[in-house]
């Protein structure tokens, strides 16, 4: 019943028709420049409408998009948010064209509004909901508008939409294949009510945000129709095709300018969702001439958890990196992916059975961020286009979610937007990364203010600031991450989940000897009343490290994995969330000692790291470098490295004897090549 071929082929643009090519050739000089910009402004208008009307925190955080597509469903232009959805947004249109257009019981008509959140046909996972409208002019289907955004509730077995304990798709709540929810420019109340029923933990958000998406889609439709009246449909066909074709040709030209080669990297995931585990995801970036293959074969076999992603989601995550780094200056259209092919192995965590749980797929597919960050950086360094060297970010990009009846008596479920937007950017070839850079999926989003969150949710922040030692160390260090502590306030209890991972193993984004970013701790303090401590005055912890080293809050400190199934947190208790920094670049011994001390002074690293990692000697009070002693320590460390060094064969022989514990390898597949070694039974 699942059309997997559609979601594989739907990402590539359809071949141009003769008519489109002729119409393209008829464009006057300047038309392409002027009207391609106009198309983008039209889409931007749509996106702003959605953002200003909506509720979901993801609208600020950046997990949203508005796009314009050809009549055949290929992306013409988009404004994001995140580039994820502009890529996958093609698939539901192609689904509608394939299954509904000529189906007399459904059909496609002017005034229709379609809607979907099934990851197999367009989303990354089912929290991603899309409104889709066909755009007609004089009875001819000329384009589609699509507006989508992540919404943090799906009616699954746990709140929040990303269901850490899901074992199959049936645990994950509402999953709509593309259905028509509006006809003749009217939304259907019965279907809105059905959605509310599914999303009863956050009905207000569901209805408001459906309307926001549809209003935005409709605005795009109106604007495109206005242009069709003025310039005619043939002009639009030619323009759309040129926007796709020229991007593809530009992408080929840029790829051609880079050095051929095969560039590899591997990272490991540390959870299946319901269990801590070691999961492998390698990549080989194969560049030849004007063509690239992103080969992701060799990933661990699929498992029973929700930390796996369908192949379209993986490809879309690759597109996020491509659009944000090597092709950041390109117009965004389906043409960008034309010279790029993907190899994703079915039956792995990067493309499991359609019955699998995949609601945490962004946490899985985003392994492509460090994978492509590192491999593309190697290629850019070599080519050389070193201004594009950057390991990007960890593959975590998530946050805790709260579900409760808030202090205003309203049922709410949503992400905590701050940690979602608080990940560090990795170091560049000539400078450090960016501290608390943003949400890697859509870094232009905004982290909310403390007062914003406390106004809408029953929490009081104990702290929210950068966390020392979260960055990857190196000649240039990665940007720092952050730590946030939430005390439950005003209400007796709340429910929390979290789909962050990397509490045990970071997904390495370091480059050329730079350290990986850190792992992220997860802490709760239970059986206490933070407010009692606060009201008595005196010291309280101001970050996770202080909390663990000098807990003055009383109660019991629980350390746990960041992947947290639903748990009740009571008034006065504390739940913490922290984020990772970015990977480092180059040898730590090459970092300027003065820069190390600036980091100490600013709380980016601790004294221990300055002395033991960077090997800097300094006056701890005045923070003045002892240059001679530093040089001596660094020379000593270089000599120690040489002593620790082994000939390749000797190292290899010893290394190959090492193996993680059986416990860690439960879901890994065979060691070390991660081939299937157990049967997964879908219930």
């Amino acid at each position: 019943m699942f059309d997997l071929r559609l979601n594989e082929e739907g990402i590539k643009p359809v071949a141009p028709s003769d008519d489109e090519l002729e119409a393209m050739a008829e464009l006057a000089p300047g038309d392409y420049e002027i009207y391609s910009e106009m198309m983008t402004i039209i889409v931007q208008e749509g996106k702003e409408i959605m953002t200003k009307m909506g509720i979901s925190s993801m609208l600020h955080s950046g997990d949203s998009m508005a796009g314009l597509y050809t009549a055949a469903g290929d992306l013409v232009t988009t404004v994001c948010g995140t580039y994820l959805h502009c890529v996958t947004g093609q698939i539901p249109i192609k689904f509608i064209l394939k299954y509904w257009r000529d189906n007399p019981s459904v059909g496609v008509h002017a005034g229709d509004v379609f809607y979907c959140n099934e990851a197999i046909y367009g989303g990354i996972h089912n929290p991603d909901q899309f409104a889709i409208m066909p755009i007609f002019h004089e009875d001819e289907l000329i384009a589609w508008s699509v507006v989508g955004a992540h919404q943090s509730e799906t009616g699954g077995k746990e709140p929040g939409g990303e269901i850490t304990t899901a074992r199959t798709r049936h645990d994950e709540g509402m999953k709509l294949t593309p259905i028509r929810i509006g006809e003749r420019y009217m939304l259907r109340d019965d279907l809105l009510k059905m959605m509310e029923n599914f999303i009863s933990r956050a009905p207000r958000m569901q209805v408001t945000d459906v309307k926001a998406r549809v209003a935005a889609c409709d605005r795009i439709r109106v604007r495109v129709q206005e242009l069709a009246v003025k310039r005619g449909t043939r002009f639009l066909r030619g323009l759309f095709r040129k926007m796709i074709t020229e991007t593809a040709e530009g992408a080929r030209a840029r790829i051609r300018s880079w050095n051929d080669g095969i560039y590899r990297h591997v990272v490991f995931i540390d959870t299946t969702g319901f269990d801590a585990a070691l999961i492998r995801t390698p990549v080989a970036l194969i560049k030849r001439g004007d063509h690239i293959v992103i080969d992701l074969t060799g990933a661990s076999p699929e498992h029973e958890g929700a930390f796996q992603a369908l192949a379209p989601a993986v490809r879309a995550h690759c597109a996020v990196h491509l659009y944000q780094f090597p092709f950041h200056d390109f117009p965004i259209s389906a043409g960008m992916l034309e010279p790029i092919d993907f190899k994703v192995e079915h039956g792995t965590v990067l493309d499991p059975d359609p019955e699998a749980a995949i609601s945490c797929s962004p946490l899985t597919a985003s392994v492509t961020f460090p994978l492509l960050g590192v491999t593309f950086s190697k290629m850019m360094f070599d080519s050389p286009q070193r201004d594009l060297v950057c390991g990007f970010a960890a593959s975590n990009s998530a946050a805790p979610m709260i579900s409760c009846t808030n202090q205003h008596g309203v049922k709410v479920t949503d992400f905590m937007g701050y940690p979602l937007n608080a990940w560090g950017l990795s170091a560049r070839h000539d400078r450090d990364g960016v501290d608390v850079f943003g949400f890697p999926h859509g870094p232009w989003g905004k982290a909310p203010d403390v007062e914003d969150i406390e106004n809408e949710f029953p929490v009081l922040h104990l702290y929210q600031k950068m966390l020392p030692n979260t960055c990857g160390f190196g000649r240039h260090r990665g940007g720092a991450g952050a730590a946030i502590g939430y005390a439950i306030h005003h209400v007796p209890h709340t429910v929390w989940t979290s789909t962050c991972k990397e509490s045990k193993v970071p997904t390495h984004a370091g480059l050329f000897g730079g350290y990986s970013q850190t792992v992220v701790p997860a802490i709760r303090v239970v059986d206490t009343d933070v407010f009692q401590t606060l009201s008595e005055g005196g010291a309280v912890p101001t970050n996770d490290i202080e909390l663990l080293e000098h807990n003055t809050l009383g109660g019991r400190v629980i350390r746990e994995h960041q992947t947290r199934p639903a748990r009740v947190v009571h008034r006065g208790e504390l739940i913490c969330s922290s984020t990772q920094g970015g990977g480092g670049y180059g040898d730590v011994l090459e970092r300027e000692p003065e820069s190390v001390l600036v980091d100490v002074r600013n709380g980016i690293i601790t004294d221990w790291v300055a002395r033991n990692v960077y090997r800097v000697a300094y006056d701890p009070e005045l923070l003045i470098v002892d240059q001679d002693e530093t040089e001596r320590l660094r020379s000593q460390e270089r000599a120690a490295r040489l002593n620790r060094g082994r000939p390749w064969d000797e190292f290899h022989a010893g290394w190959n004897l090492l193996e993680p514990s059986d416990r860690a390898l439960t879901y890994y597949g065979t060691w070390p090549d991660a081939r299937p070694n157990r049967q997964v039974i879908r219930i």
């Binding site: 003749r184 209003a215 991007t247 390109f330 937007n421 600031k465």
Partner: protein, 727 residues
């Protein structure tokens, strides 16, 4: 006293507009960035000279001097503020350094935002080592949950003083609800570090500077004011001193970005930011009223940027959404003037990777080296170079002949960088550059109008700035606008705009109220809470107006409210129909006002009262109306413009090719003269380009009205969706 003097001190030029009896003159001089008063004095002297009187005579006769300045922007770019210490709630010391995470994108053109490998945070105005955490906490209901730890505070103050700070900014969480801790900190600083020991150590409290919800913009507002305060005060006071020495006897009034003005002493630094463009918009609103145009798009095209403002229903009532000053998000009421990187100095180039796509801006050649034609070392082609090559701009009469242009350099730049890579003629390359920059500006107008819920075709276009009249036909075409007004004083329009402004003070306070409660469906019945908030703001207004010598009876008030449906991320600024509530019907009226403005701006589809309706902020505007300049009407002379025809020169046009084109002198054109495009009118500081298909008529106010002979087609907006959808 019958004279008024209005000055706009811009980055490159200082503009002046003077009325003296029935006479009015305007002029430009170079801005003297080392000392703004020098340029200001020069421009006033120039204006006096044009009136045939001495500067002293003009100043003695002046009833008012109003001015706007880019000084705030200059100081931020130079990073030359005092060393400040920031006291912030403990645990949140990185708030301004993190800046909602993507601070690196604030104030940066989209093109650079997209290059993730190249982004960086701005250098903070208060570095981390000068930020300390204060042990205290207030919650979202304004209740103190952690008392202020004064002993800890004293130690941290000593640390900051030892570090050499010259002022303190205090910004604590929820301080706008309960400012007790902030006020106590100020008391302690004043007690412990008395001015007698250390000299002036100003203390800025966020609860006083910007008592609004959201700690990041509130803190940045407070920092910016503290950072700019001293140097701006000294410099602005200096300007006044010199003019007073020469005979001026009245207060110096500063133009505010709130759309009003106030004396320098009652001006906060942040209010002066972008005052010039706002003055231009206010002037547009005034002239629109004189003409009976209630909907105006005001456009100002200069050397580096293109500013757009809107007057709708007679009022410039739009405010910037999340305004950014330099690289810093603030939460201030700033009249919305949107700016894009398009101007005479915008650089054009060919993107060889993407289909040889011609791109214009946002990079600008600025005034140094400037366009290639400036002969100052610039080699890249700019919009001005295109205008010169096309024959529109007279190289011998640019800025009244004060800047001599070299057309051969303009031609070479276009040939090398555009024409040859594309394989087209230099004229066609120039036309393409012009068409693209015009399209960029036209589409920006479309975007600004439609995003506010309007159709640009229902608006009149006002074009000013040095390059506005040169390009307005082009960008009007892309915005689908049919009628343009250009002004003889277009290059000094912002200075003219100052002359139309009232004395205005704006007071804001966050106060959260449910107009319609989501859980109970009940309307607000705590009228006292609403009324108390408004009353508090009125008292502040009365204090300030009294301090400026105004009679309370002269002051009028307008109340605006930031409202939203429950749970929404963004608020919508709404004009309140009432200054106070006394019945349920008043509350219902408030609800309907919100729903009407919300539906108009976005879509009636989004009306969602079941989610509840909330007020977040109260914004009270107090106003003392000022006498406006009277625009003199002139008798019709003739339709025939031939007496103003001074020459004919070859100019290249899109549909006509290169043709002899009549050139008229602005000075010689008389009321009623009608000129059909293609034609060119040369004025001292601008060139009016009348494209084919447009007719220019000098009207009875001696402004040029340009009308298109044919209009664009309308598409039917689909209202059915909104109308038929249940809320």
């Amino acid at each position: 006293m019958s004279s008024t003097i209005d000055v706009d001190i811009g980055g490159t030029f200082t503009d002046c507009y003077v009325t003296h009896g029935r006479e009015r003159v305007w002029c430009k001089t170079r801005t003297t960035t080392y000392d703004l008063s020098v340029g200001m004095n020069e421009t006033i002297e120039e204006a006096a000279g044009r009136l045939g009187i001495t500067t002293e005579e003009l100043l003695a006769d002046a009833a008012i001097i109003r001015y706007s300045t880019t000084l705030a922007m200059n100081r931020l770019i130079e990073h030359k503020g005092p060393k400040l210490g920031l006291l912030i709630t403990e645990g949140f010391e990185d708030t301004t350094l993190i800046g909602r995470a993507s601070q690196w994108s604030d104030g940066v053109p989209l093109k650079y935002q997209r290059n993730i490998a190249g982004v960086d945070r701005p250098e903070p105005l208060v570095p981390k080592e000068l930020i300390v955490g204060v042990r205290e906490r207030v919650d979202s209901r304004g209740e103190i949950v952690r008392p202020l730890d004064e002993r800890d505070l004293l130690a941290k103050l000593q640390y900051l003083v030892d570090a050499g700070v010259r002022g303190f900014v205090v910004s604590l969480l929820w301080s706008f609800l309960d400012p007790a801790h902030e006020r106590r900190i100020k008391e302690i600083i004043e007690e412990e570090y008395h001015a007698a020991f250390l000299g002036a150590m100003p203390v800025f409290l966020s609860s006083e500077v910007a008592p609004r919800i959201y700690e990041y913009p509130r803190t940045m507002m407070t920092i910016l004011n503290a950072y700019l305060h001293q140097s701006m005060y000294e410099e602005l006071s200096g300007i006044g001193d010199e003019l007073r020495d020469r005979g001026y006897r009245r207060p110096m009034m500063m133009i505010h970005n709130t759309g009003g003005m106030a004396s320098v002493l009652r001006t906060s630094a942040v209010n002066t930011y972008n005052g010039g463009p706002v003055a231009g918009l206010m002037g547009s609103a005034y002239i629109g009223g004189v003409y009976g145009y209630s909907n105006v798009v005001a456009t100002d095209m200069g050397g580096t940027s293109f500013d757009i403002g809107m007057v709708a229903a007679g009022s410039p009532r739009f405010y910037q959404f999340m305004p950014i000053i330099d690289r810093w998000v603030v939460d201030a009421t700033i009249v919305d003037c949107h700016s894009i990187g398009a101007g005479g100095g915008s650089i054009a180039g060919v993107n060889e990777l993407i289909a040889n796509r011609v791109e214009v801006g946002p990079e600008s050649a600025g005034s140094m080296p400037g366009p290639a034609a400036y002969n100052q070392g610039g080699t890249q082609p700019t919009v001005t170079d295109a205008d010169v090559v096309l024959g529109y701009v007279n190289p011998d009469n640019f800025h009244g002949g004060r800047i001599r242009l070299n057309p051969r350099r303009a031609e070479r730049a276009l040939r090398d960088h555009i024409a040859e890579p594309l394989g087209v003629s230099v004229n066609d390359a120039a036309l393409m550059v012009r068409r693209i920059v015009d399209a960029n500006m036209g589409q920006a107008i479309r975007r600004e109008t439609v995003l506010k819920g309007f159709d640009p075709r229902e608006f009149i276009l006002f074009a000013f700035g040095g390059a506005g009249p040169t390009h307005c036909c082009g960008y009007a075409r892309f915005a689908e606008m049919e009628k343009i007004v250009v002004f003889p004083f277009a290059p000094t329009f912002c200075a003219f705009g100052s002359s139309t402004m009232d004395v205005v003070h704006v007071y804001e306070r966050s106060h959260h109220l449910h107009v319609l409660h989501p859980a109970t469906g009940m309307y607000l019945d705590d009228y006292g809470s609403f009324n108390e908030t408004v009353r508090g703001l009125r008292e502040e207004a009365l204090r300030d107006f009294a301090g400026e010598g105004y009679d309370p009876a002269e002051v009028t008030y307008e109340l605006e409210l930031d409202m939203k449906f429950g749970g929404q991320l963004n608020v919508k600024r709404v004009s309140s129909p009432l200054l106070e509530l006394s019945t349920n019907a008043d509350v219902v009226a408030l609800r309907h006002a919100f729903e009407r403005e919300y539906g108009d701006a976005y879509s009636p589809l989004g009306l969602n009262p079941e989610a509840g309706i909330e007020i977040h902020n109260f914004v009270l505007r107090g106003r003392v109306a000022q006498r406006r300049p009277e625009l003199e009407r002139h008798e019709f002379v003739s339709e025939d413009p031939s007496p103003a025809l001074v020459s004919t020169r070859e100019a290249h046009w899109e549909d006509l090719g290169t043709v002899p084109t009549p050139v008229y002198s602005q000075e010689l054109i008389r009321c009623g003269n009608a000129i059909d495009g293609p034609a060119i009118i040369e004025a001292e500081d601008t060139t009016v380009v009348i494209e084919p298909g447009w007719r220019y008529t000098l009207d009875s106010y001696l402004n040029g009205v340009m009308e298109r002979r044919h209009g664009g087609a309308n598409a039917r907006p689909m209202a059915a969706l909104a109308e038929a959808t249940p809320d």
